[in-house]
Symmetry: C2
Subunit: 294 residues, 2 copies
């Protein structure tokens, strides 16, 4: 039987599940609400366990990859800190493995998304460095080099945590203004798609909020360009659904900000909002491969 892997991407608002076979063909997708105020992570893990238990005998899952936002200790399977989940030192891989008795791969959501885009997505044929920048509930980046994820540690990729010191948004972080979540929140609409609909309709308040975000996102891409030198910048997350509106403005903004130099191309993520879950399933596949070699 073709081995089946479950990728799970735990986000601030939803948990995304993706069931893939050995050829990365998607067999099934599911979504659950992320339990609120779950500081111990117990409810979140229970939600995932019951969802997987319901289908595992039918689907024959052989390994699970789970990814979370924040600071993660991949080897120990612990989420050290996650502002979006309200977690601090939450063990994930251990409890999940104990409950399901399956091999568990644990990772970081943005780095997993970068891996997915580099292996089977927008940056699959990029020589050199590719940057993956998902613009969703949060705003962070990860990098791949010849298909391998670059893991630096520290604050690497936490571009949303820059605090603005001047202008009308002084005191806010970049994530507070330029993430998809922030754009929707500032306009009082349920999601970024509704916000971009208003922008397309020429709504002045929406255009103002959108332009605020564009200025910051172009800054982010310019600084990623002069610090890590990517050939390609892959935009993911919820805002990638509005790539037609976003990419030309960001390309122009980047050219205005970086003097006389070959600039990276800015493209849309091939896996869209599923990049993290696809990458999680690929981490699960790596665990099986590693196990088979031992």
């Amino acid at each position: 039987m073709n081995p089946v892997r479950q990728g799970v991407d735990v986000g601030g608002t939803t948990i995304k599940g993706l069931l893939v076979d050995a050829d990365d063909t998607v067999l099934e997708q599911w979504t659950e609400q992320t339990p609120r105020d779950d500081r111990t992570g117990e409810q979140t893990i229970a939600t995932i366990v019951s969802r997987i238990e319901a289908s595992r005998w039918r689907t024959g899952i052989e390994a699970i990859g789970i990814v979370v936002p924040g600071l993660v200790d991949e080897d120990k399977g612990i989420c050290r800190q996650s502002v979006n989940l309200g977690w601090k030192d939450v063990a994930v891989a251990g409890p999940l493995g104990d409950a399901l008795r399956l091999p568990i791969a644990f990772g970081h959501d943005v780095r997993a998304g970068a891996l997915a885009e580099a292996r089977t997505g927008a940056s699959a044929r990029t020589p050199g460095v590719a940057a993956f920048l998902p613009i969703g509930t949060g705003l962070a980046a990860a990098y791949t080099h010849n298909g391998e994820v670059l893991t630096f540690g520290g604050l690497a990729g936490e571009v949303g945590q820059i605090r603005l010191l001047q202008g009308p948004h002084a005191g806010s972080t970049i994530e507070d203004i330029a993430s998809a979540g922030a754009i929707a929140r500032r306009l009082g609409v349920p999601n970024a798609r509704r916000a971009t609909d208003l922008v397309r309709a020429g709504d002045p308040a929406a255009v103002a909020v959108w332009n605020d975000a564009l200025v910051i996102l172009a800054d982010v891409i310019a600084w990623i360009t002069v610090t890590v030198g990517p050939e390609l910048v892959v935009i993911g997350g919820g805002l990638s659904a509005s790539a037609d509106l976003l990419l030309p403005a960001l390309t122009q903004g980047l050219a205005a900000r970086v003097a006389d130099a070959p600039l990276p191309t800015i493209v849309k993520a091939a896996h869209g909002v599923s990049a993290g879950a696809v990458g999680a399933a690929q981490l699960a596949a790596d665990v099986l491969r590693k196990g088979a070699r031992q």
Copy 2:
């Protein structure tokens, strides 16, 4: 006899030479003016050759490491482009090796400085990533990870090339305002040391120019922090001579700009303005070691 290596750092205004033995002990230092308007590089190479020829029989040089600013092709020994030198596709390693009949190592000035600091300088005991930021004629960064230089290609490290879009310096690049050269030029003094003397004396024009530079340099370090996540930021170049004035302001500026997170420590380069030449000599040593293994 103890093998002797010559490190050569070709800068926009001076060429620095450093003669070291196998224990990295400095035996001799020299400086030459960089020939002006030397678009073919011939005069620059002739200057280096005659300087080395004058002492080689006495000192017994066994290998030369030479580093230049800009975009370099290390394997081919070619400087692809250097704004500071006015070079485009200038072959360096070939002509130098032909003239001196010695093994030549060719590299990038900032990455060589980062290597020197990581091997025998300020970041020698840093786990994880260290960023090296020389503030001199130009402004650029390079990174090491567990003592190895990270080579990304593209515009990686070219932080001075960000163009300011707003404020009194709109249209200028960061390097035009915040490099040591720019600070001196804006005040009409011969070098940054004279500028910082004026700042210490409370000269209002000097304080204004200094504060302009500090704001930008703190931005640079904040963005390096959230993109590559260094544990340590090592300040080099001419401005590192004024570390007592610079480092407290940059440390405070970084804390204001990055929200709630463990921040890198900012320190002075151990090798000061010689970091590039020390790194060049280390590249020469690597070439000898590699040759011995073959």
